[in-house]
Structures are given as structure tokens and as C-alpha cells.
Amino acid sequence: MNKLRRFIPGWGIVPVVIFLAIWEIVARLNLIPGQLSFPPFSSVVIEFYYLTANGILGENFLSSLTRVLIGFCAGSIAGIAMGILMGWREGINKTLHPIISLFYPIPAIGWLPLLMLWIGINEMLPITIIFVCSFFPVLYNTVTGIRSVNKDYIQAARTLGASDTRILATVVIPLALPNIFTGLRLEAGMAWRVIVAAEMVAIPTGIGALLIQAESLIRIDIIIVCLMVLAVMCFAFDKFFGYLEDKATAKWR
């Protein structure tokens, strides 16, 4: 019964339905002033079907998804590993912190011109951008998480005979997980925003490229389809990491 309930939409669906209905009515009755073309929701759904059926949406979506997954995974793994090292070893933190502090505030998309010159316009470019976009925030959150673990837990583990490696693996990292997941959740959404920007500017395939092509053909329905795909992906990534975080920490938090 509980499993069944999970699939029955709750009251949260009501505002969405109302919003879509208003959208449909406003577009059908042509209530938007000026020359702005505004397709009704039903046209967007039909266009979604066409784009899916002829494989254009799937192909571009998969290109973007592959880049996000590779860049995000690589950036996050590197960020977590480096973050653990910096958080655990004061010497490494003191050495690297000034450099990280310098690079962290640079918006990921700001690296694009430099990377276009260094890497060239190829598949590595969006992956590298996503790597940079994920690496610094995940690193920052991991360092914060590791360093904010109560020192009493570490000392308690030490008096119980645990080695430094064991303390790190069994006490510090598990207790830093909430912070690490916060970084991952934030950056999973950000990765999609950045990939679209990169594809719009420099890469001929992917959701961002489809968006920019639709803009040049003044196909607002396709633009809205792409935006909806992006919204769903950001939402799905956020929910996925939320689920993982719950699995890992809900019992004891």
C-alpha cells in the first residue's frame, strides 16, 4: 500500500496542472500582446513527440548527458579525493588553500575562451568545462565537511586504538558525507546549466546546440522542449543525490 501511495501524485501536482491549463488557454486565445510567438502547451508536447520520434532530441540529449556524466563524475571524484587530502592534512591544506581560493570564485563558463584555445573545439572541451565546474565546489564542500568533524570523535577513535587511516575511513569521511552530498547536489544542477552554455557557444551537438539552432529558426516550441528537458534533468539529478544522501545518512542524522 505504501509503495502504491508513492506513485499517486500528491497535492503538489495541482499547481502544475493549473499552470499548464492557464498556459494553454492564454496561448490559444492569443492573449500575449505584441509580436511574441507563444505556442500552447499542447504544441510543445506534439513537438516533443516529433523530436523524440525522429531521434533528434534523443541524440542531442545523449550527447549532453554523456558529457555531463563524464565531466561531473571525474570532477567530483577529483574534488572529493583532493578535498579529503586537504581536509585531513593541515600541511596540504595550508599549501593549496590560497590557490584554490583564487580559482574557486571564477565562474566555470569564464574558463571557456581559455579552454577553447588550449583544448580546441572537440569533445574534451565541454567535458573539461564540466570537470572545472564540479571540481572546485565539491572540493570546497568536502574540505569543509572533513574539517568540521568534531575533534572529539577523532580523539575518541584514537584512544580506542584506531590508526589514522581507519579513523579517516570509518569516522571522518562518513561524518563528512552530508557536506559532500550538499556539494554534489548543488553541482549536479550547475553541470547542466554549464553544459548548455558551453554547447550554445562552442559545440555543434547537445541540448545547448539544439537550443541555439531553434533560436535561429525562431522555433519557440523546440526551445521550450529543450528547457523542459533541462528542468527535468536538473530535478532528476538533485533527487538522485538526495536519495543517495538519505540512504547514506538518514539513519543517524
Partner: protein, 352 residues
């Protein structure tokens, strides 16, 4: 179990501390906040660097890291790992020391039963009460059979009733296991109840190390006396049992009735806040009621300390400032004193 010797140990506020803790003894480290009690415990546990030497059974352990000293440490905030359930918390030290799975399981079960927390084994610390957490933390500290046990104000966060109950239990467990123990507290009453000996620490200096009653009735200096509440200590010249657990004692020209069931009373102690002052003659029987003259009045924080002369004896009394304001007390004025019977403490020197 080892004896512990600290030789010229210096760290932060603690300077050149020398202390010997005997085998199987429970030594209470007593002192106000910031006296250096936790620092000394951390030195013994090897959790901090320090100057000087620490010996376990005469062998130096200065080069041993905390993980090799075999010290069970109960932290002030207990430091139970929040991400591990009760059984896993208790097993942590055993697993860290690479004991076999079967041995770990047996020992965990043993401790769960000893601490009467078997029903909590799969709960997480967030779902435990203060007393339950305390038991789990103690079980974890004892799990790997440490040579030394350090208890850093372990009951400070508990309500009075639970704390009192757990104190008795803690003492019993310590005696049964015979583990050399250092118990840190700033509470004199708690210290007296737990200690084989008390070490009074103030500003990093060990002021006195003695049996509890000796610390109380023979404070070595003014600092110790002030810390334990500056009691009026009176030598008794004679004592006479009145039966039913009360005695009459004579201290100079005062005849005081004290609650005591023993053979003799050597000294009595009256806390300043346990001496009531009245401007009029109090009603009731003439027991522990005296007439005295105020010889000094000294305000201190939110209390007023009043020195009185009762016959040939000087007594210090204390009252809250707001009560003093409502009374008309002045130096030279004659007042009545009442001693609270149940608050009078007695010292019976059994060695004599």
C-alpha cells in the same frame, strides 16, 4: 592494572605537575573550569604533546601514541559516533585492534549485558537518552579492557537523580574491574562520593592530593579551602553519643549536636551558607542555636560574607545579597545563629 606517574608534566596552564595514581585506585581530579584537568587527562591518554614524562607501572609511555596506550577515555560530551549504532560503537575499538569477529561479538554482548543496554544494541545515539548514552560510552571505553580509564566529567550533562544513580554504578564497575581510573569533576560532592583520593588542581597546580575527608577537613591552603566552599572547621574537644544517630560535640565553647553514628568526632565543618542569621530569637528548641556578634561584613559577588564572634570562636556565615538588604545588620550588632543539623559534616579520625 598499572600505576600512573606524572613527572614534571607541563602543558598549557599545567606547569611541572607531579602526581602518582596508584594501581586500581580511583583518583578524582577536582578543580574549577580552566584548572587544567582535561589537559592532564589528555596528557595521560597521549592525545596532546607535552613536556615531562608519564609512566605506566614505572615504564615511560611518552613515545607511545594514544592508540597504543590502552587508555579508555570517556569524554565530557561522550563523543559517541553518531553514524554507528550502539553495538557498532562498542565494537569500534575491538575491530580497530583487529580482534576476530567472534571475539568482538562475544565481548559486545558481554558489555551490553553488563551495562544493561542489550535492548538498545541497534539504536543510533540520536535515539538514546542522556543516561543511555552514558552507559554506551562507558561500554565502548571498557570494551578493549583498557589498563587505565579516564572519565572527563561524564555525568555533567545528566539530571541529578540519574547522575547519582550512575555514580554508584560507575563506582561499582570500577571496583569490580579494578581498573586504574582518573575521574575529572568540578563538583566536590561528586568527587567525595567517587574518590579513593582527590587531587585538587587550581590554575594548573596540584594544591593537595589526599583522601576526600582529609581534603575537606584539612585543606592544605586557602585556595583549597576556598574551592571547597571555605567551611568553618572546628576541632572537637569532646563528644558524647545521644543515641539515634546524633552526637553532642564540644568545640571550644560551642556545644553542637551533629548527625553521626560512629564512636567519636574529631572535627566538624560548617559551610558558611548553612549558618542562618536572625535578628530576633528564633523559635524552637535551643539546639544548635547561638548568640554572636558581627565583627566584619564583606560583600562578595551576589552574596555577603559575615564574620561573627560566638564566645571565643570565629565563624563565617554567608547570605544572599537581597536577604542582607532586607535585614538591619551592622558590625557590632548582636544576632542569633542557627546551624542546619543535617548539613554539619563530621570527621572521625579512624587512624587515631
Amino acid at each position: 592494572m598499572p600505576s600512573i606517574t606524572l613527572k614534571d608534566v607541563s602543558k598549557y596552564v599545567c606547569q611541572a605537575v607531579n602526581l602518582e595514581i596508584f594501581d586500581r585506585e580511583l583518583l578524582v581530579l577536582l578543580g574549577p573550569n580552566g584548572a587544567g584537568k582535561t589537559t592532564l587527562a589528555n596528557v595521560i591518554a597521549g592525545l596532546t604533546d607535552y613536556r615531562g614524562s608519564v609512566f605506566f607501572n614505572g615504564a615511560p609511555v611518552d613515545k607511545l601514541p594514544a592508540s597504543k596506550r590502552s587508555v579508555g577515555y570517556l569524554f565530557q560530551d561522550l563523543a559517541l559516533f553518531p553514524h554507528l549504532d550502539v553495538a557498532a560503537n562498542i565494537a569500534y575499538g575491538l575491530i580497530a585492534q583487529q580482534q576476530s569477529r567472534e571475539r568482538v561479538d562475544i565481548r559486545v554482548k558481554e558489555l551490553l549485558q553488563m551495562m544493561k543496554i542489550a535492548h538498545l544494541s541497534s539504536r543510533y545515539p540520536k535515539n538514546l537518552s542522556g543516561g543511555e548514552k552514558q552507559r554506551v560510552a562507558l561500554a565502548r571505553a571498557l570494551a578493549f579492557s583498557p589498563k587505565v580509564l579516564l572519565l572527563d566529567e561524564p555525568l555533567s550533562s545528566l539530571d541529578m537523580q540519574t547522575a547519582k544513580y550512575l555514580r554508584t554504578e560507575l563506582r561499582q564497575i570500577q571496583r569490580n574491574l579494578g581498573v586504574t581510573t582518573v575521574y575529572i569533576t568540578h563538583d566536590l560532592e561528586e568527587g567525595e562520593e567517587m574518590a579513593d583520593r582527590i587531587a585538587v588542581l587550581q590554575n594548573g597546580h596540584l594544591e593537595q592530593v589526599n583522601r576526600p575527608e582529609e581534603v575537606f577537613f584539612y585543606p592544605k591552603n586557602e585556595k583549597v579551602s576556598d574551592f571547597i566552599g571555605a567551611p568553618n572547621i572546628l576541632d572537637c574537644e569532646y563528644c558524647r553519643s545521644l543515641g539515634k544517630g546524633v552526637m553532642e560535640v564540644g568545640c571550644r565553647d560551642l556545644r553542637i549536636i551533629v548527625p553521626h553514628d560512629g564512636n567519636s568526632v574529631h572535627r566538624v565543618a560548617l559551610f558558611p551558607h548553612d549558618i542562618y542569621i536572625s535578628e530576633t530569637k528564633p523559635p524552637g528548641p535551643e539546639v544548635n542555636r547561638f548568640r554572636g556578634t558581627i565583627i566584619d561584613i564583606a560583600p562578595a559577588d551576589n552574596v555577603v560574607r559575615i564574620k561573627l564572634k560566638v564566645g571565643g570562636t570565629c565563624l563565617l556565615a554567608e547570605m544572599p545579597y537581597h536577604i542582607f538588604e532586607d535585614m538591619d545588620l551592622a558590625v557590632g550588632k548582636e544576632v542569633f545563629l542557627i546551624l542546619k543539623l543535617r548539613r554539619i559534616r563530621v570527621y572521625e579520625n579512624k587512624d587515631m
